[in-house]
Amino acid sequence: MARSSHDWCLFLLPMAAVASPVHASDYLTVPQAQVLLFPAAKSFAEQTLKFDDAQRDRIKAAAGVRQRTGEQKVWRAERDGQSLGWFMVDEVIGKHEFITYAVAISPDGQVLGVEILSYRETHGGQVRDAAWRRHFTGKTLADHFKLDDDVPNISGATLSCRNVMDGVKRLLVVHKLFLAKA
């Protein structure tokens, strides 16, 4: 159905130019993501896996992507002493994005869900700046739900989520090599 051009003024209102170099959103805190991904869990037992160089090489060989850090924090989701699976938090630092995400993995190595905790999109080196790392520090959703402030309502060339999917693949390898029961 064609519409005359003046109709469109109802759908796209003029907007003052806001200097908004940062398109950033925090969606979930770690505890919020844990409850969302493992609604039946009663507790989350935290542990840190430490990898030596040989283990990092094994992860890379199996996942095809580099294990950037020497350790990975994981949480075992539990209910009445039973393991419901594993919860892991990871970061992607790409050319255009800095993303923190959480993955839930079942005891037998299936991805139960992926949630983005924090999304920063920018250009150039800004994402590597330490200031960018102040993510999900005890904020609640209500604190930062402001439509007109730093919300990434961006249209444009579509940014690939491949970095995150590669990260999920790597965490599945970490699960298989270090957490799955033989």
Partner: protein, 273 residues
């Protein structure tokens, strides 16, 4: 009144859903389930998707979901009405170029036409060995279906942004920016009860950026013009499809053609040459 928003990696990009209403959390779940179902049906990359099975069916009718029938019919109608500037049967050419994966089967024609797509109430069939690729409009349709899911779940307002295909509904205005090639953000305006989509056509010889993998090919006599093409429409599938029409149309006809097909070209995308 609850307001929630959340983001998940889906449809090859990052999908943000926001909802306002008494059951905002359930509404978000319903919207994401809808988008995940769209991904399962219409992904070209996934050899097991309904779309890939249709492409591999060798001209036999394939039972498909009614939403797939609806999308194929909309796509074929727009192919006809745009004189082929929009074309969803170019999967063969994209496979040849290495942009899309080859799932095997007999070699495909580089491109086909609207008549190659036949549909019945719950089936579809390709009359010639073409490969249908629904990428952009599938993303738009996923957004539109997820908006329905949000509403049915009681959301009074909300929005979905699937990697730049975005739609807002209800009593809400959404400030929208466009990401330019140099990274700066151009304000497009405050979107209300409508959709915006953009497609980027790289300059000839430009090195491809795996972060922005989009690829568009047009009819041989109307190659897409480099730039970012942004269209406003009432639905996301239409906005996305019309970005392709805008990119391939002759400059003199461009705005009028997009308008006649139910959209509005927001910004001239063409790079200064």
């Amino acid at each position: 009144m609850h307001e929630l928003r959340r983001m998940r990696p889906l449809l090859g990009t990052f999908v943000e859903v926001g909802a306002r209403g008494p059951n905002a959390a359930q509404a978000l779940d319903a919207a994401f389930a809808c988008i995940a179902a769209a991904q399962d049906r219409w992904s070209f990359q996934d050899a097991g998707s309904e779309l890939s099975r249709l492409n591999a069916a060798g001209g036999e009718p394939l039972a498909v979901h009614p939403a797939t029938v609806r999308l194929l019919r909309l796509a074929a109608a727009l192919m006809r009405r745009s004189g082929g500037l929009f074309n969803c049967t170019v999967g063969g050419a994209l496979v040849q170029q290495g942009v899309l994966p080859d799932h095997g089967g007999p070699p495909a024609l580089p491109r086909g036409c609207a008549e190659d797509i036949e549909t019945g109430r719950r089936w579809a069939r390709l009359g010639r060995p073409v490969r249908v690729t629904l990428d952009g409009i599938a993303k738009g349709m996923a957004v539109d279906e997820a908006v329905v899911a949000l509403r049915q779940s009681g959301a009074t307002a909300g929005w979905i942004n699937a990697g730049g295909d975005l739609r807002v509904f209800g009593d809400m205005v959404l400030p929208v920016h466009r990401r330019e090639d140099d990274g700066h953000m151009t304000p497009l305006g405050a979107l209300r009860d409508a959709a915006v989509a953009s497609s980027r056509v790289p300059s000839p010889g430009e090195a491809s950026d795996p972060a922005f993998p989009g690829c568009l090919i047009g009819p041989p006599e109307h190659p897409p013009r480099p730039g970012i093409w942004t269209v406003l429409a009432r639905t996301a599938w239409r906005a996305d499809a019309l970005t392709k029409v805008a990119a391939c149309a002759a400059p003199a006809d461009r705005e009028a053609l997009v308008a006649s097909l139910g959209g509005r070209l927001l910004m001239q995308g063409e790079h200064a040459t």
